[in-house]
């Protein structure tokens, strides 16, 4: 694995980089050594705090001074002087005083310091305070888009362990069940599967193309700082691909993340995970971070005795390193992020589920091996005197290589991708009228092997975008955007988007959105479950650019109303959403004949409607609840007539209770979390077992988790998934004839594995 991105001038980067690619084991060892090196320094830092008024310096009393991320702090005396026990240096010291700018400065050694406090700029103080009181799922009253922010605290509630599993306590996203072959949980929004979502990492498109099916499992949960979920039409800035919405993931930043972090997870189904993070401030401007993740399952599970594994065995190693540059004086910020991932999964018939038994034709075995490398560079410049004006530039490269066998079927895909985006933000007159404009370019090269067929292709596109936002502060706001793209296979086209927000009365927001999106059809990468069936594939070509088929295009529009309220002195909010997606062009995946799978262009209508009513309420000071009712109508004109989309529940109910005890004087507390999901009727694709037009009944799932916080840097959690032990009885159709046409391991409407318990711990270095 060699780098193709060249940033040679930076030595620390090269160091990181070579460790990354060439010696992962050594790297783990290094992390372990650093992690266990004890911190024994009991020295004191002395200094004074002053303020300059009319050219005269005077001492400032009562300034709060503490080490970032710790509880070690002091307050300045009447003469402005202070003393504070110092941790291992360098470390970051925070100066905080109401009405003054909160400063965080890096202390390299124990030399006495003198700090000058400045009068606050309002926004900065705002930010500090908001982050302290932030709810773990935050809805916005003022933004024109329907965005739900999920904080890292909320992510702790999810049982495990990666991005695809992070949405279990969040009704905006529906999580489906992992199939027995890949163990991957697919997600849906507004009734449609993830390829119709734009999934970005720090605003760089990430889960797309070859990584569409499994990409969400490539981001470990502990790496995630927050997730922003946009329902409905989103911004044009990140491309033309989003149709039902956007999920953006922010990873932890080396400057603000815990310096050392350790997480260990162990589940009864045999899954083990370990996460190690190492972050440090190198000097005033640079900080660096290293995030290492490994997971493994060696245990064979077959709860339903069908001779097939209920979940794959395998392992993943995932390493991410990043450099952060911040220069408050000249307004430049930047990130350089590198990631390497290797994953191997084996599934299939229990006795012989080893790579050696592959293609023996005696046993059905599958292996999916993935290797991936990502590099991204982000820089931004904020004009110091005009903080409303900024430039942003991002460039990303990824190389994805999947080699997979499913029984005697082969599916290999390689995807090299390059993406770059330049954005300029500024105002028209004042900050009530802002705009974003820029250009983007993307290049995707695919090599795809489906059984004996080769589908190599290259996608190139360049686009220009402009987005204008108006905000009248209290009553309404509007975002209008558009982009023009020139794509070698989609042609030249315009993508319009609009979002509006109106506040009719206090604590409410009425939102409307409408927009279009389109995408290249990657029919195999997006429908990999077809490979674990014996169905005969056919593509009904019309001479289009995508496997003989056309591209996909849809319009999405919706209304959302949010109302906050106080009841018995407790806070709550109620949201009602309605969204509809209308496909203009679509590739229909037709499972409606047993033993066959057909792809063809949509003729007629295809749409998805979703109504959601959601209530959040603080039942008591330590206890909050969230409940949602969702109903779906997702229908497509198949060649055999209009039908509901298969494996799409007609209803979903959701309830979550969340308890957090009051911490005692040592900071110890309990956290408990209980989630109930009800999944409604699902139409099943035609197959020999269920026939045509069969439906799976609705059922409920219960998850719970209990966490004991022993100290503010150490906690242990236990939990259970699917506590009522609901299982799909026969997940694999024709399991006794795995190479026959009727074999089908893809029709999964409920968990295959029953009740599952897990235990884990989290430790950090307190700063």
């Amino acid at each position: 694995m060699c780098l193709t991105v060249d940033f040679n001038e930076d030595k620390s980067f090269l160091l990181l980089n070579s460790a990354y690619i060439c010696g992962m084991k050594a790297l783990f060892r290094i992390i372990l050594i650093v992690l266990v090196t004890p911190v024994f320094s009991q020295s004191t830092l002395k200094g004074e705090v002053v303020v300059v008024e009319n050219g005269n310096e005077s001492a400032l009393e009562g300034v709060e001074i503490y080490w970032l991320g710790t509880t070690t702090g002091t307050v300045s005396k009447p003469n402005g002087r202070f003393e504070i026990v110092a941790p291992k240096l360098p470390a970051q010291l925070v100066f905080q005083y109401l009405g003054f700018e909160t400063d965080t400065i890096t202390i390299p050694n124990l030399d006495a310091i003198k700090h000058v406090m400045r009068i606050a700029s309002a926004e900065e103080l705002d930010e500090v305070v908001v982050s302290k009181t932030k709810a773990s799922i935050q809805k916005t009253y003022f933004k024109p888009r329907n965005v739900v922010n999920v904080s890292s605290e909320e992510l702790l509630k999810a049982a495990c362990c990666n991005l695809s599993e992070s949405f279990e306590t969040n009704p905006a996203i529906d999580v489906n069940f992992s199939d027995a072959i890949t163990g991957t949980k697919q997600i849906k929004m507004l009734g449609l599967s993830s390829p119709y979502l734009l999934i970005t990492q720090e605003n760089i498109p990430m889960v797309r193309g070859a990584s569409q099916a499994y990409g969400l499992t490539f981001t470990p949960g502990p790496w995630i700082e927050s997730i922003q979920i946009t329902k409905g039409s989103g911004s044009v800035v990140n491309g033309f691909e989003s149709i039902t919405g956007q999920i953006n993931t922010e990873l932890f930043k080396p400057l603000t993340a815990q310096q050392r972090y350790l997480n260990i997870y162990n589940a009864l189904d045999g899954r083990r995970e370990i996460n190690l993070h190492l972050n440090g401030v190198l000097n005033e401007k640079w900080s660096a971070g290293l995030f290492a993740h490994a997971n493994q399952r060696t245990q064979n599970n077959d709860m339903n005795d069908d001779g097939f594994l209920d979940m794959p065995t395998g392992d993943q190693i995932n390493l991410l390193g990043r450099l952060q540059y911040t220069n408050a004086q000249n307004g430049w910020v930047g990130f350089l992020t590198l990631r390497y991932l290797e994953e191997n999964k084996t599934a299939g018939e229990l006795q012989q589920a080893t790579p050696n038994a592959l293609r023996s034709r005696e046993y059905w075995v599958s292996t999916v091996d993935t290797e991936r490398f990502d590099a991204s560079l982000k820089t931004g410049y904020v004009f110091p005197m005009r903080t409303y004006q900024s430039f942003g530039f991002q460039a990303a490269y990824s190389s994805h290589d999947q080699v997979a066998n499913f029984g005697n079927r082969i599916y290999n895909i390689g995807h090299d991708s390059f993406y770059t985006n330049l954005i300029f933000n500024s105002i028209f007159g004042n900050t009530l009228n802002t705009f974003k404009t820029g250009i983007s370019f993307s290049y995707d090269q695919f090599e795809e092997e489906v059984d004996v067929l080769d589908f190599a292709r290259t996608d190139r596109s360049a686009g220009v975008f402009f987005e204008y936002a108006y905000n009248d502060i209290d009553t309404w706001s509007l975002v209008v955007g558009g982009r023009v793209d020139k794509h070698n296979r989609l042609g030249t086209f315009f993508t319009p988007r609009l979002n509006a927000r109106y506040t009719p009365w206090e604590r409410s927001a009425l939102r409307f959105s409408i927009g279009q999106g389109r995408k290249a059809s990657n029919i195999f990468a997006e429908n990999q479950s077809l490979f674990f069936t014996g169905r005969t594939l056919s593509i009904e070509s019309t001479g289009g650019n995508f496997y003989g088929l056309g591209p996909e295009r849809a319009t999405n529009y919706g209304l959302s109303f949010l109302q906050g309220f106080s009841l018995f002195n407790n806070q709550g909010d109620l949201t009602v959403d309605f969204y509809r997606t209308d496909f203009i062009d679509q590739v229909v995946v037709d499972w409606e004949t047993a033993g066959a799978l057909r792809f063809y262009n949509l003729e007629g209508k295809s749409f998805a409607e979703n109504l959601q009513i959601e209530l959040s309420y603080e039942l008591a000071r330590n206890l909050s609840m969230r409940a949602a009712f969702k109903t779906y109508r997702v229908e497509t004109d198949f060649k055999s007539g209009r039908l509901e989309r298969p494996l799409t529940p007609d209803k979903r109910y959701f309830a979550n209770l969340d308890y957090k005890s009051t911490p005692n004087e040592k900071g110890q507390l309990w956290r408990a979390d209980f989630t109930y999901h009800y999944i409604g009727l699902q139409r099943l694709p035609a197959n020999i077992r269920d026939g045509v037009g069969a439906r799976a009944d609705g059922y409920g799932l219960i998850n719970a988790q209990l966490t004991r916080v022993f100290a503010d840097n150490f906690e242990v959690y236990v939990g259970g998934e699917n506590l009522a032990n609901f299982r799909q009885e026969n997940p694999i159709i024709a399991a006794d004839d795995p190479f026959g046409q009727n074999f089908d391991a893809s029709i999964i409407y409920a968990p295959v594995f029953g009740r599952m318990a897990y235990i884990g711990l989290r430790w950090n270095s307190k700063k």
């Binding site: 309002a122 103080l125 404009t437 502060i473 023009v484």
Partner: protein, 113 residues
């Protein structure tokens, strides 16, 4: 690609034009209580021509202003804010304007938070 660069350059034109402006950034303390006050104070600031950015903090009552000093001054912005009913370092809000504020915004009587 070339075409896109041209379009992008055209979109950036308005930025290049305002080079002769004299941009200043100042923070002043303005009396107020809640998020309704925030909206009122910011709206009043924007009603003065030349104000580029105005942001009032509920927490520390600082109004941060970025404005074009060739078009307006910090004094005239403060005047506008005081006329909306909020005291500034230079101007006390007229009694009439203060009385017309909703109950929750009466900073002279409502105890802070």
């Amino acid at each position: 690609m070339k075409k896109f660069l041209v379009v992008f350059a055209v979109l950036l034109l308005p930025v290049g034009v305002n080079a002769q402006k004299k941009i200043e950034k100042v923070a002043v303390e303005v009396d107020g209580v809640c998020s309704m006050c925030k909206a009122r104070i910011e709206k009043a600031s924007f009603s003065e021509k030349g104000v580029k950015s105005a942001s009032w903090s509920v927490e520390d009552h600082q109004l941060t202003l970025i404005y074009d000093a060739s078009k307006t001054s910090i004094d005239s912005i403060q005047k506008k804010v005081s006329l909306a009913g909020h005291n500034t370092p230079l101007f006390k809000a007229p009694e009439e304007a203060y009385q017309s504020l909703p109950m929750c915004c009466k900073y002279r009587t409502v105890s802070d938070h």
